[in-house]
């Protein structure tokens, strides 16, 4: 049996080579690209899509309105996004979903609920300072939703109709 003391004799270059090999594998899994030489391509593809599915699941749970709007297209849309962009280092599924929602905005206009979700999430992710954001909503009538987060006061919102209702 090897002795525990041997562990401390690992030199820095061993860790560097090890780091490079792990980084190569991780890159292939995250991007869904070709795995490093020697790896089984089908296994790597299954492992990569499992990572992206797990990430998609967490985002769908954190962004229910967005997931509802996209329905069955959520999975494929998120997979394409995830291959191109790593999950953010902080902020978890809320921040990941924010980047995803922003990546969609040109191709898929968000519906009212998803826009409200996006605005509230941006306010929630702002940990310090002041946040003010606004979005035009369409239903039941066109109005501007304003969300603000102020230090000590938390998140507040109000909506302003586009046109004042005519009197009488």
């Amino acid at each position: 049996m090897p002795r525990g003391g041997e562990a401390s004799t690992v030199s820095a270059p061993d860790r560097e080579a090890y780091a490079a090999r792990q980084a190569q594998l991780l890159d292939a899994l995250l991007r869904g690209g070709e795995p490093p030489a020697g790896f089984d391509a089908a296994q790597a593809a299954a492992a990569g899509s499992s990572l992206r599915r797990k990430r998609a699941r967490a985002v769908a749970q954190a962004w229910p309105a967005l997931a509802l709007q996209l329905g069955d297209t959520f999975g494929p849309c998120f997979d394409a996004f995830a291959r191109a962009a790593d999950a953010p280092a902080s902020g978890g599924p809320l921040a990941d979903g924010l980047a995803f929602a922003r990546s969609l905005r040109h191709a898929t206009p968000l519906d009212d609920d998803a826009r409200v979700e996006l605005l509230l999430t941006r306010a929630a992710l702002r940990r310090r300072g002041i946040f003010v954001g606004a979005a035009w909503l369409r239903r039941p009538r066109r109005r501007l939703l304003v969300v603000a987060r102020l230090p000590g006061l938390g998140v507040m919102h109000c909506s302003v109709p586009r046109r004042r209702p005519r009197p009488g």
Binding site: M1, P2, R3, G4, E6, A7, S8, T9, V10, D14, R15, E16, Y18, A19, R21, Q22, A23, L25, L26, D27, L29, L30, P35, A37, G38, F39, D40, Q43, A44, A46, A47, S50, L51, K54, R55, R57, D86, A87, A89
Partner: protein
């Protein structure tokens, strides 16, 4: 390296998740719960976890982000957090994985396997020793379910895990679902592998649900426990009495009755195994 004797009895366990709080509070036969260390604050326990401690349940913090199998040495702040959670819940032990979760500054979002080589064993052993030195309680190591295998394996999983626990004195968190998954997906016999794990070093056992998709078994923790895994519980207890068996359910949470039925099925399998033990 001196080994820590396994001297606690945990009994039946369940992984605590906020969504299961009510069901687990009513599961009277539980002896312990496991909490994801990164998901809770060291000073501000979720009410359900505090209530479980009050009820006399033991709590095992389970880490998922140390990346003990990574090329970098484990991060001091992550270790400090795990240690302070262990102290806060008065844990008998903590557990982590034989896996890497980040490389080159990028997070994988899940547990990835390490190459089963002597070089990886050296690095892992050093990382585990660093973690053990920073933790106030014994550390148990869990082997993971891996859809992808490194091409240059110098030994099989049972041998790799045995060498790691022998070198570090760590305990074993035996995950029977991971064993089942790897045996099925990589074409070897689960039972033949099981008997060669260091069973005398078991701290406790994990059992989780999974699903077959296109011939590949996925360890989802979002589906029922499959019969093949329950069979491994029975076979394990026919060999030895493990100090505890814990059900992991992380998603697609079932109705309470279904969850309790699954806990009972696991306990029944363990009891059947114990009864059939040769010499019992």
């Amino acid at each position: 390296m001196p080994t820590t004797p396994v001297r606690w009895q945990l009994g039946q366990g369940a992984a605590w998740r906020p969504q299961l709080d009510g069901a687990l509070a009513r599961a009277r036969e539980l002896g312990f719960i496991e909490v994801i260390a990164e998901a809770i604050g060291a000073h501000d326990l979720p009410a359900g976890v505090a209530a479980a401690i009050e009820r006399g349940l033991q709590v095992v913090p389970h880490g998922v982000s140390l990346s003990l199998g990574g090329a970098e040495r484990p991060d001091d702040r992550r270790l400090e957090h795990l240690a302070s959670v262990a102290e806060r819940v008065n844990a008998p032990l903590v557990s982590e994985h034989i896996a890497f979760v980040r490389a080159d500054g990028r997070e994988s979002g899940h547990l990835l396997p390490v190459p089963r080589t002597r070089e990886a064993l050296d690095i892992l052993s050093e990382n585990v020793a660093i973690a053990q030195a920073a933790l106030p309680v014994p550390l148990a190591l869990e082997h993971v379910a891996a859809l992808v295998q490194w091409p240059d394996a110098e030994m099989d999983e049972a041998t790799f895990v045995t060498q790691l626990v022998e070198r570090t004195g760590a305990l074993l968190l035996l995950d029977l679902s991971n064993l089942y998954a790897n045996a099925h997906n990589h074409g070897y016999d689960a039972l033949e592998s099981l008997v060669r794990f260091p069973l005398e070093r078991i701290a406790y056992v994990h059992v989780g649900g999974g699903r077959m998709r296109d011939g590949v078994y996925h360890d989802t923790h979002a589906d029922p426990v499959v019969p093949g895994v329950l069979h491994l519980v029975e076979e394990l207890f026919a060999l030895t009495d493990a100090p505890g068996v814990l059900l992991e359910r992380d998603d697609d949470f079932p109705p309470e009755a279904e969850l309790l039925a699954e806990l009972h099925a696991i306990a029944d399998a363990a009891r059947r195994g114990s009864e059939h033990r040769v010499g019992a």
